[in-house]
């Protein structure tokens, strides 16, 4: 049974489509991240799953029960969904325990049971001794944990995270990431995690849905997203991948084919069934570029920038054959490249981006 099923969901505000036929299936107990630049529609998607926004078309069901479709919208308070808000949204006029117990109080759970469950939730996030505190007297990480405990206490079938780490400093982020992962392992709750931070998404999620301009670009495991992006958007968005024009020379054989890129012939990985074609695109990573000596290997160009970053420098390079393309790679110490210098580079590998899949 699917934990959450989003089928062809569309949301239009007037003329524009904030979401365009998005379909995502989240398995029961899965941790799925929705990743995308700001304005890609990920927050709208979360608000529709929670029930704050109605859908213009398509269908959303949670735990097998339809909750949203064009003419129907189960109100948020009847969905049994938990949300961890970006700014925690803890009620300042209630103590930590009251915050956590609110959902149970609304559901008229008996006092004794309520207290026991609040205690359990506090223990789950290691906050037992803070029950009587006010949210204003907690640190950012503690507030985050209270927010987590609050959404868990009602045992929701689905928990939505709305960029929960965006307001925390870098050190706290790392430790909260660990806590979220640990928490998911312990409870086995289905989680949908909205973020614009790809490192966060990669670290936490079983699968990642990449969105852009209201459309689903690719839904895959972090490994697959990195190594086998389905289109140019994903290729360039994930880890600053470089997209280069190429001609496919041979048909696919054992998962690879031969292409010509920047005048160099190269064997790249590809999907089954690829055939020779012109105007293809390949994606390559900084680690797949290396400097070469000698005049015949690789391709020539000039270094446009060299930025030292401690231990290594990021080198930006403009090939002669494609003046508008910027390649970048890291050169570890000792750094020898300087801006304006002529050099030759070589690609070592890459991925052939499949044809005709969206942007």
């Amino acid at each position: 049974m699917a934990g959450l099923s989003i089928e062809n969901v569309t949301k239009s505000f007037g003329e524009t489509n904030a979401l365009d036929k998005v379909s995502i299936e989240v398995a029961d107990g899965e941790f799925l991240a929705v990743l995308g630049p700001s304005g890609c529609g990920k927050t709208t998607l979360l608000r529709m799953i929670a029930g704050f926004e109605t859908v213009s078309g398509g269908r959303i069901s949670i735990g097998g029960r339809d909750v949203s479709s064009a003419g129907m919208n189960v109100p948020p308070e009847k969905r049994r969904v938990g949300i961890v808000f970006q700014n925690y949204a803890l009620w300042p006029h209630m103590s930590v325990s009251e915050n956590i117990g609110y959902a149970l109080k609304v559901a008229r759970v008996s006092r004794a049971e309520r207290e026991a469950r609040v205690k359990g939730a506090l223990a789950l996030v290691n906050m037992e001794q803070y029950g009587e505190r006010r949210p204003a007297n907690l640190s950012g990480g503690q507030r985050q944990r209270v927010a987590l405990a609050r959404c868990l206490v009602a045992e929701p079938s689905l928990v939505l995270f709305d960029e929960p780490l965006a307001n925390l400093d870098v050190h706290l982020r790392a430790s909260m990431e660990d806590e979220f992962a640990d928490f998911h392992k312990r409870t086995g709750t289905t989680i949908l995690y909205i973020t614009h931070d790809q490192a966060e998404a990669m670290a936490l999620a079983d699968r990642i849905a990449v969105m852009d301009h209201g459309r689903l670009m690719q839904l895959a495991t972090p490994h697959e997203l990195y190594h086998e992006p389905a289109n140019e958007m994903v290729a360039s968005f994930i880890s600053q991948g470089m997209v280069l024009p190429a001609d496919v020379l041979t048909a696919e054989k054992k998962g690879v084919c031969k292409v010509r890129v920047l005048g160099q012939e190269l064997v790249v990985r590809c999907r089954p069934g690829e055939k020779p074609r012109k105007d293809a695109r390949i994606c390559c990573r900084a680690s797949q570029i290396e400097a070469v000596k000698g005049k015949d290997a690789g391709f020539a160009g000039s270094v446009t920038r060299a930025v030292y970053r401690g231990g290594a420098a990021r080198i930006e390079f403009e090939p002669d054959g494609a003046p508008q393309t910027c390649l970048h790679f890291d050169q570890p110490d000792p750094v020898t490249f300087t801006a304006g210098e002529r050099a030759r580079l070589r690609l070592t590998s890459g991925w052939l981006i499949p044809a005709g899949e969206g942007a």
């Binding site: 929670a50 029930g51 704050f52 129907m72 919208n73 189960v74 109100p75 948020p76 308070e77 009847k78 969905r79 049994r80 969904v81 938990g82 949300i83 808000f85 970006q86 700014n87 949204a89 803890l90 009620w91 300042p92 006029h93 609110y102 959902a103 609304v106 559901a107 609050r150 959404c151 009602a154």
Partner: protein, 567 residues
């Protein structure tokens, strides 16, 4: 469709229906009734009322006078308010907080109390002038009984209003705009003339419109200063007609009050036109401009500012207190003759006065509490609602307050002169009609700050409760009410202070047994008992100060600008 869905719809619809009902009863109904009386007297279309009003010479004289004191008072208030706002916001004068408190206080004091205080300051029987031995001889008229006197007092009463609006505008002035002009070589006065004042046009014009409406609708000041000189403006003309002719002249005064309404509307429309003529939008937000160093001028300017406070606040209040201590007309005040007898008389002995204290307390407290409880759901819909038409109804809430009080008073009279249909309840000539008018008139004073409060509140707090399973009414009770209550209550306190000494509405609606404090002060003064009027006024001023102090106690929990006297 689930049962749950219907239940939520039901709560939402109940909320909307309640709000619409309140707006209809307290805003649309009285206004519609007033227009009906003018255009459709007795249910048939007729222009007789309008024709009769237009040919009457008194109408024209009063209209002309209204325009004169309205424009004069506005101009004076603008000059004073803008000058003070610029000095306080853009220069390095010291003791700003205390100065703002003192300067804004006249706005918190009822106009008729201001008028009374000033009268006590200048007349032949002025205890202060007599103490100093410079009083004019007995028999000379008080110089304030004149149009100039009215303009002066209107200006002082509403200069704080201008100040507050322009100050708010100046706070948003980004310092880059000033610094860019300075680095282009402009001196401070040039910057003021070419950059600051033009950018402040919307604030200044908005303040002018609001002040004009307030001046035109003011009853207390022209009643105290104009009636003795037989200088009538429209509100006082309406009062005199109604006092002399009773309900028989209702159609006539309805026309006059619509006339005031039209004059006020012209002011508002004009303001709208002027602000839309050019683009005054300030796009960036940043720190306020660095204060201008007055240098050697700082001390003289500061002395001038505090002298202003002494003139507009300290002296009149002193005059008021001294008069309240006088034994009788003509008795010179000294340490031996000073008495508290007047206070004892108005509090304990005078039946109408002691009734009025009770009445006004009940009326203003009820109006304040009602407004707080209505403002919270009403502002919720205005601030967070999705329906557009509700926002249009927001204008309807503003209407009874935006239009002069006389207009609403006459509308209430017309609405309740006959017993209410079906129930047959008669509230005319009771305290209830005053309560109705207060509720209608002052509701917006609580709604405005509450809407601001909602905009500053994170909506996620409500959404978190919603996903926790709480329905609309549960969320209102457990989440929204506790969070928004401080702002709404501060608004309620403003209503309480304003309604406590209210005169304009109650002067037209009171009857024996339902006197208000404003009416009692007015009656004492009309009957020549200035010392009693002064005693009641002094008590009210003291109460006002206490309330301001009390409200300031929880100022930290309120958004900026909710308490006008806090800088």
């Amino acid at each position: 469709m689930s049962f749950a869905f219907k239940e939520r719809q039901g709560q939402g619809m109940a909320l909307t229906a309640g709000i619409v009902a309140i707006i209809v009863v307290f805003s649309l109904l009285p206004m519609a009734r007033l227009l009906q009386e003018v255009v459709l007297p007795g249910g048939r279309f007729s222009l007789d009322v309008i024709r009769a009003g237009l040919v009457s010479n008194t109408t024209w004289v009063a209209t002309w006078n209204t325009l004169c004191v309205g424009l004069g008072g506005t101009l004076f208030a603008l000059v004073l308010g803008v000058a003070v706002a610029i000095l306080v916001s853009l220069s390095d004068v010291r003791q700003r907080q205390a100065f703002v408190l003192c300067f804004v206080t006249p706005l918190m004091i009822a106009p008729q109390v201001t008028a009374l205080a000033w009268l006590q300051l200048f007349g032949p029987s002025s205890p202060m002038l007599n103490l100093l031995g410079v009083a004019p001889p007995i028999g000379t008229p008080n110089p304030l009984y004149s149009p100039e006197g009215i303009v002066l007092l209107l200006g002082i009463q509403y200069a704080p209003l201008v100040f507050l609006i322009v100050r708010a505008g100046l706070r948003k002035l980004p310092r880059e705009l000033v610094e860019a002009a300075q680095s282009s070589g402009a001196g401070w006065l040039t910057v003021l003339r070419t950059i600051i004042l033009p950018l402040m046009t919307p604030s200044i014009v908005g303040a002018a419109a609001l002040t004009f409406v307030s001046c035109v609708g003011n009853f207390g000041i022209p009643a105290f200063l104009g009636i003795p000189a037989n200088y009538l403006v429209l509100p006082t003309l309406i009062y005199q007609r109604l006092a002399g002719g009773g309900p028989a002249v209702l159609s006539e005064v309805a026309f006059l009050s619509v006339l005031i309404g039209i004059i006020a509307m012209v002011g508002i429309v004009l303001q709208d036109r002027i602000s839309k003529r050019r683009d005054f939008r300030i796009t960036s937000t940043s720190l306020p401009a660095a204060p201008y160093h007055l240098g050697a001028w700082r001390l003289p300017v500061e002395i001038g500012m505090w002298a202003l406070i002494i003139i507009i606040l300290v002296l009149p209040l002193l005059g008021l207190i001294l008069t309240s201590l006088v034994r009788g007309y003509g008795v010179t005040l000294s340490a031996e003759t000073a008495t508290l007898e007047n206070y004892r008389f108005v509090v304990l002995e005078h039946a109408a006065a002691s009734r009025a204290f009770i009445n006004s307390l009940y009326l203003s407290a009820t109006a304040a509490v009602f407004a707080v409880f209505v403002a919270i759901p009403l502002a919720y819909v205005i601030a967070w609602g999705k329906q557009r038409w509700i926002k249009a109804l927001n204008l309807a809430v503003e209407l009874p307050y935006a239009l002069p009080g006389v207009v609403l008073a006459i509308a209430s009279l017309l609405l309740f002169l006959k017993p209410m249909p079906i129930t047959g309840i008669q509230i005319y000539n009771t305290v209830w009609i005053i309560l109705y008018a207060y509720l209608a008139r002052f509701l917006v004073l609580a709604v405005r700050p509450t809407v601001t409060g909602y905009f500053q509140l994170d909506r996620a707090l409500e959404e978190a409760a919603q996903v926790a399973g709480a329905g609309l009414f549960t969320r209102m009770r457990t989440i929204i009410f506790p969070l928004i209550a401080p702002v709404a209550i501060a608004g309620g306190l403003l209503i309480f202070m304003t309604a406590l000494c209210e005169l304009t509405v109650s002067a037209l609606l009171w009857s024996s047994g339902s006197e208000t404090i404003g009416v009692v002060i007015f009656s004492f003064e009309q009957g020549g008992d200035s010392k009693y009027a002064a005693a009641v006024s002094a008590i009210m001023v003291a109460t006002t100060f206490l309330l301001m102090l009390f409200a300031s106690l929880f100022a930290k929990r309120l958004p900026d600008g909710v308490l006008p006297w806090r800088d």
